[in-house]
């Protein structure tokens, strides 16, 4: 039978390696002296060092997860937790060192900034090398800086929110994050301000056998609106790299936040990221996620709908190719009346890749009138790949509408036959079906990213004999 041949993601741009040039690379492993040293180098206030030490304590105390992908390939003694690039924070691209600038140029970041972004942050290894924000947003009081600057210049507000959404006790890797965090973004959108054009942070990990632990904290104040995009990539090395970032989001009353992620780590990356949002009354969070890279991903954005009428939308796609184990999904807690969640998740697995969808929907006893609808679809392109769906629901009140549905399968012969009867070749028909499968997600992305995603799923469909 003819098999659909979907090519691997074309990674040539992402794979450009720069020499491992750094001004400082922390010795491998993790202990208290390393944590203290990072804090000292960043010249942090004492409370932040205490947060780090708390993280270290929890990291040593907590067990590895007893579920999900096998993480035995990870050995903290082989990972350098802090790598400072040979660059300071710049506010002009011209000041960024040539080598680093070239990398971001190739990834199209400055180009995108000119065309369609209101602000850009770029992180290289452990430190942010570039940050900018449009003048008029600055005047409206919008804050968009790297996280270190935020700790220095907006200490009160950072202190108020840092670690409040995601506690260090959550799991082992978020504890690790708190111990050694470096870089990341801080965004504050004041009351009623509508940031019409998206802000974007791009994370690049160049140094081999190292980890990236950026912290993102976004506060969208009452009635404000923001679209934030994060992109990530790294060149491929033979040794394991680790990404354990943490994203803490606060959506206040009547506010709206769209958080888009295009994750394209290299296939030696362990992506153990944590994202969580607190949504107040009438607030809206929209997650848009594309997971294409990494060797192992464990990523489940969590939404706490704590105010009445708060809403969550999740649109995600993952593409697991050869040697990849992408374990993704979401968690949502309906904690107040009339909260709603809508989830649409898609996955494609091929060439032995493993795509797993996990979810946990909790409807608390006080969340009367809540609605939750989850739908997942999985497409398998050959018979040695794996696609699993593991959804949990926990309903604790009667006044709720909860439904979940999932489908697994290959491209249906009937659909191909139908399109062929309309004059398409078999290959064209299959290509159209796969693109159609991914289109609800690509529609949600900004134009440049939709184009990038189409690049990523470089659908050169050949009628190989399977």
């Amino acid at each position: 039978m003819a098999k659909t041949q979907v090519d691997d993601i074309n990674r040539s741009i992402y794979n450009i390696k720069n020499e491992d040039n750094y001004s400082f690379k922390m010795k491998k492993g993790l202990d208290e002296s390393i944590v203290r040293q990072i804090s000292k180098m960043k010249n942090e206030p004492k409370w932040m060092l205490e947060c780090r030490l708390k993280g270290l304590e929890m990291f040593n105390k907590l067990d590895m997860p007893t579920w999900g992908p096998d993480l035995s390939c990870l050995n903290m003694d082989d990972i350098s937790t802090y790598v400072r690039p040979k660059s300071n924070l710049n506010s002009s691209w011209n000041d960024v060192p040539e080598e680093i600038k070239n990398t971001f140029d190739l990834l199209g970041i400055p180009e995108a900034e000119k065309k369609s972004l209101a602000g850009v942050g770029a992180q290289y290894d452990s430190e942010v090398v570039y940050h900018s924000l449009q003048e008029d947003l600055l005047k409206k009081g919008v804050i968009y800086t790297d996280f270190e600057t935020a700790v220095r210049e907006h200490e009160e507000i950072v202190k108020e929110y840092f670690m409040k959404c995601v506690p260090a006790e959550d799991h082992k890797f978020v504890a690790l994050h708190y111990a050694v965090w470096s870089g990341g973004s801080f965004v504050y959108v004041p009351k009623g301000v509508d940031v019409e054009i998206p802000l974007q942070s791009y994370f690049r990990l160049n140094s081999p056998e190292s980890g990236q632990f950026e912290h993102t904290l976004i506060i969208v104040d009452e009635g404000a609106n923001l679209h934030f995009i994060e992109g990530c990539s790294a060149p491929k090395y033979n040794k394991v790299n680790l990404h354990a970032g943490c994203v803490e989001l606060f959506v206040k009353e009547n506010a709206r936040l769209r958080y888009s992620t295009i994750e394209n780590w290299s296939k030696n990356m362990l992506n153990l990221n944590t994202k969580k949002v607190m949504v107040e009354k009438n607030g809206v969070i929209e997650w848009v996620t594309g997971s294409f890279g990494s060797r192992i991903s464990m990523l489940y954005p969590m939404s706490i709908l704590k105010g009445e009428n708060a809403k969550m939308e999740y649109t995600g796609i993952s593409f697991a190719g050869e040697g990849q184990n992408l374990d993704t999904g979401l968690k949502v807690v309906h904690g107040a009346k009339n909260t709603a969640s809508v989830v649409s998740s898609k996955s494609i697995s091929k060439s032995g890749g493993i795509a797993t969808f996990r979810s946990n929907v909790i409807v608390a006893p006080e969340a009367d009138g809540s609605k939750s609808n989850i739908s997942c679809e999985s497409l398998m392109l050959d018979d040695w790949s794996v696609s699993d769906t593991i959804p949990v629901s926990n309903i604790q009140t009667d006044d709720v509408e909860f439904s979940h549905e999932a489908k697994i399968g290959k491209i249906s012969d009937e659909a191909i036959f139908y399109l062929m009867s309309r004059g398409l070749s078999e290959e064209e028909a299959k290509a159209m079906i796969v693109r159609g499968f991914a289109s609800p997600i690509s529609k949600e992305l900004p134009v440049e990213y939709a184009a990038e995603m189409n690049n990523l799923i470089n659908l050169e469909l050949e009628g190989a004999i399977g």
């Binding site: 999985s378 790949s385 959804p391 926990n394 009667d398 709720v400 979940h404 549905e405």
Partner: protein
């Protein structure tokens, strides 16, 4: 000695904090076993009182499996070597003196043979504190066509642990109809291995939980055969403080080309304090299959209730009507009218306040 036991492990783990990987029963104690003779059997075929050991791949839990293996006080071996017209009925009644039943039932259906087996587990009255740990093993040879009806009608004070292990050969058809109504704790483990090509396994379960009842259902089907078909339908209603965990897994193994699996769970919540957890898993390592699952939970549609009430029926009766209507498809799979009416009566009684 009382201890905590862990039962009904799911084939794939999730985070411990979700509380659905298994069910922990505190203060569990295996009771002293006596002989059990309160059983009434109607049959056309010869039933023997010895069975062979069984080794389930996914068991309800070691402590219960070992009890059955070593100490079963009722063993029945049913060999269906001819087509049977009238269902085999095995009716267990637990009372004050015979309040513990550990039964090991093996049903072997020979090639191309047909038959229906009804297993009833009842308590004599509402005060008996019964303990039931049982297993029903079905081996359906090629082209066999077997229907098994399992009725858990124990009272609210009893403990009920039950396993079903099935193996389906080429083109075998195995249909289960299960009513899980009784037991302060009801832990049910269902495992089917669809080895034969074009084998077909359907499971229709209805459950009812009230007061402090705890139901933990763990259904697992492994699909190996080409064009095999598995259908799992579970409908239930919870009132008062009842808690239900439903875990269903359809595992498509590499090679089960053109297999189809459907899994559907629907939970009606009749009280604010009832709690429903569900984990309907689809595991898939074969592309040429169709797998669907859905689950939903919520209260009874207000409009429907209102409509029925405008016809002069009380809210309670209207609720009962709607629940029974949901169960109707499953009830209709029981051909015996007397038995069906008996079940409807029990549903009515359980839904009364």
């Amino acid at each position: 000695m009382k201890k905590m036991v862990v039962l009904n492990e799911t084939p794939r783990r999730t985070s411990k904090s979700f509380g659905i990987n298994n069910i922990k029963i505190e203060n569990f104690e295996l009771p002293e076993l006596k002989d059990f003779s309160n059983v009434n059997i109607e049959t056309e075929v010869n039933i023997e009182n010895t069975v062979h050991e069984f080794k389930p791949k996914f068991s309800i839990g070691e402590v219960l499996v070992n009890q059955i293996k070593d100490q079963a006080n009722k063993k029945l071996y049913i060999n269906i070597d001819k087509d049977i017209k009238k269902p085999i009925v095995i009716d267990f009644e637990l009372d004050e003196t015979q309040n513990t039943l550990v039964d090991n039932i093996v049903i072997r259906a020979e090639e191309g043979k047909k038959g229906t087996i009804i297993l009833k587990y009842r308590t004599k009255n509402d005060d008996v504190q019964a303990f039931h740990n049982g297993v029903c093993n079905v081996k359906a040879k090629a082209n066999a066509d077997i229907k098994v009806i399992i009725l858990n009608l124990l009272n609210q004070k009893s403990e009920n642990y039950y396993s079903m292990n099935n193996k389906l050969e080429e083109n075998a058809n195995l249909e289960y109809v299960i009513a899980d109504f009784g037991g302060s704790k009801t832990v049910t483990n269902y495992y089917s291995s669809l080895i034969g090509n074009t084998s077909n396994n359907t499971v229709n379960t209805m459950y009812l939980g009230k007061e402090q009842q705890l139901l933990d259902l763990n259904y697992i089907a492994e699909v190996y055969g080409k064009k095999a078909n598995i259908d799992i339908e579970v409908y239930g209603a919870l009132k008062d403080n009842a808690i239900k965990h439903f875990k269903g897994t359809i595992d498509f193994k590499t090679g089960c080309k053109k297999a189809v699996g459907n899994e559907n769970e629907y939970c009606m919540l009749l009280s604010k304090k009832a709690k429903s957890k569900a984990l309907p898993m689809l595991l898939c390592s074969e592309d040429d299959v169709q797998g669907n699952h859905s689950n939903s939970a919520g209260k009874i549609d207000e409009d429907k209730l209102y409509y029925i009430m405008t016809r002069g029926i009380s809210k309670k009766e209207a609720q009962k009507l709607i629940v029974k209507a949901k169960f109707n498809n499953i009830l209709n799979k029981i051909e015996d009218e007397t038995l069906k009416n008996e079940l409807i009566e029990i549903i009515d009684r359980k839904l009364d306040y």
